[in-house]
Amino acid sequence: MIGRASVPRSTTEGEPDDVTVRKRVPHRTDGGEAARARAHQPETDSDPDVLISARGLTKEFGDFVAVDGIDIDVRRGEAFGFLGPNGAGKSSTMRMIGCVSPLTEGSLTLFGMDPEADGPAIRGRLGVVPQKDLLDEELTVRENLLVYGRYFGLSRSVVAGRADELLRFAQLSDRADSPVEPLSGGMKRRLTIARALINAPEILLLDEPTTGLDPQARHVLWDRLYRLKQQGVTLVLTTHYMDEAEQLCDRLVVMDGGRIVAEGSPRELIERYSSREVVEVRYPDFDLEPHRDQLDLGDLAERVEVLPDRLLIYTHDGDAVSRIVDQSPDRPVSVLVRRSSLEDVFLQLTGRSLAG
């Protein structure tokens, strides 16, 4: 239940579980048909710039619906993100796109090809950075690249040349002959990315690329990914970090419970689903509902979220709200004014925080 907030001024009051059920049921009954109808729109079918196209993409494991009929189009050269908490269906979606997991329902094409019929040909043009690095620990850093390139059927000489280049790119040239095991988490991640680039892929799939890395390692990695994007590589990534999504993604979809709940650029999403500013207010105690009721903000507050540890007041004028809160009889411990982020978008859309 941590991270779950009740949503005042909305129709989803009550048991949090109701929220999930309410969202799921109508979709399962009518969403598939609509998705299949949309699948025949000519504009996406004929556009060679659309590298990945999914309609009504569904993945079920027994009774569990991991991915619940999603539609996406990814264009050449863009950085496309799936943002959502753990269990939202991001990784299952990535595995289907990576052609290592058959669809349960719906349609999917990559480079205009069908994964079921042309899996090897598609995988030959993809680079995959899995959530766990899965490097070959029986081989050295350089051998990892050489061997992986051979899996793609590339010649020894091509692979050797690319390996040197990629080791430089991954800032691992001086560790080329080291075993993999002693490398730091950031180094392993960079090696995994280098390995995924050995076939000069047109699309790079990254499943939570910086999860588990320290802030500095994350920034190094973002820089490398940004360079790849500059070179024209299409990036598709999943993340549950809103800052990562904001840094890297041109366009993203917000996923929750296997479904897409919103789509757009980070800025569009923030403008559409959140206010300009947010005021975060903390009190000495955690019984926050009375504090909220006691505040008289009038039209200033567009929305107030009650989180387990703080109030979030969504407003167009943070300073004005901050003054009123400061002067209120319930003395707050801290008042912080900040700009809206994707975290706020997610909270608004799902009633839950991303960290949950």
């Binding site: 290592v100 058959p102 899996g119 090897p120 995988r123 899995p130 070959d136 899996y151 793609f152 059927g153």
Partner: protein
């Protein structure tokens, strides 16, 4: 006109079959890169590699010399052989089995569940059949190396009685194929290391009872028939026929048995890998 149409339809059908056959075999493409990966990885595990060479040698020296003194000669295929001569070709087959089983069970399980080497491979154009074929080919190459070394020792020791023996290494490779295929297929069903006790439970009796150390005529019926149904028996008899020169038509049965077991194992392993890793 209609004859022409028939002919073209036939051609089309033939082309369809050829295409399907090519597609079936195409799924093994890239297996060589899996073998190359194992070769590279093995360079750091040389002591383990060498153990496969010493194992049959120890059996030959300890049992051959020790029991050989007590036993004297063995009547086999209408000829008389020393006990060492009798068990040497059997040990060639048994070591091929042991090497193939070790590679295709313990090593494969490690790569499948812990190192997760196959997940990485399957993200590339390699398919599960190529992975299975690569692993099994590697086991065979290793086995062929051991068999060659052991055969040379037998040659020097004077235990080789026939020119048929030039086929002893290919035969050992065939034994390896049978057990690597079966072993890898079995491994895909294993859930934890505890299940590997079952491997010992199968391999040890096979080693001891497959006419390795005494001839089939020693068994009372129906145990003799039972022994003839097990795979290592066919490997042992095949090697014996080649090295001792007691070749007859039964060799065809031995070869077919091993070939079918190996191929079935390989196909099953490919399908199971697909089930486990591509869900």
């Amino acid at each position: 006109m209609s004859a022409l149409a028939d002919a073209s339809a036939d051609q089309e059908q033939a082309a369809g079959w050829a295409y399907r056959l090519a597609a079936e075999f195409g799924q093994f493409r890239g297996a060589g890169s899996v073998v190359a990966r194992n070769g590279l990885a093995a360079r750091r595990g040389l002591p383990v590699l060498l153990s496969g060479f010493f194992e049959p040698l120890f059996y030959l020296l300890s049992l051959g010399t020790g029991i050989g003194v007590l036993v004297g000669g063995v009547e086999y295929g209408g000829k008389s052989f020393s006990y060492q001569e009798f068990i040497a070709p059997a040990l060639l087959a048994a070591s091929a089995m042991n090497g193939a089983v070790a590679d295709s069970t313990f090593n494969v399980f490690w790569k499948l569940k812990y190192a997760r080497v196959y997940d990485g491979m399957l993200a590339t154009p390699l398919g599960p059949r190529a992975v299975a074929a690569g692993e099994i080919c590697w086991a065979l190459l290793r086995g062929a190396g051991y068999a060659t070394a052991f055969l040379l020792i037998l040659l020097v020791a004077g235990y080789v009685q026939s020119w048929w023996a030039v086929l002893a290494v290919p035969a050992a490779t065939l034994v390896g194929l049978a057990f690597a295929g079966a072993g890898m297929a079995a491994t895909t069903f294993m859930r934890s290391w505890q299940d590997f006790d079952l491997v010992h439970l199968v391999v040890l009796p096979l080693l001891l009872l497959s006419t390795t150390f005494y001839p089939l005529s020693t068994y009372p019926q129906p145990f003799g028939v039972l022994v003839q149904l097990t795979p290592l028996y066919h490997g042992v008899e095949l090697e014996r026929a080649l090295v001792l020169g007691t070749m007859d038509a039964s060799a065809v049965v031995h070869v077919l048995y091993l070939l079918v077991l190996g191929t079935a194992g390989l196909l099953m392993a490919g399908r199971r890998l697909e089930r486990l890793l591509l869900s």
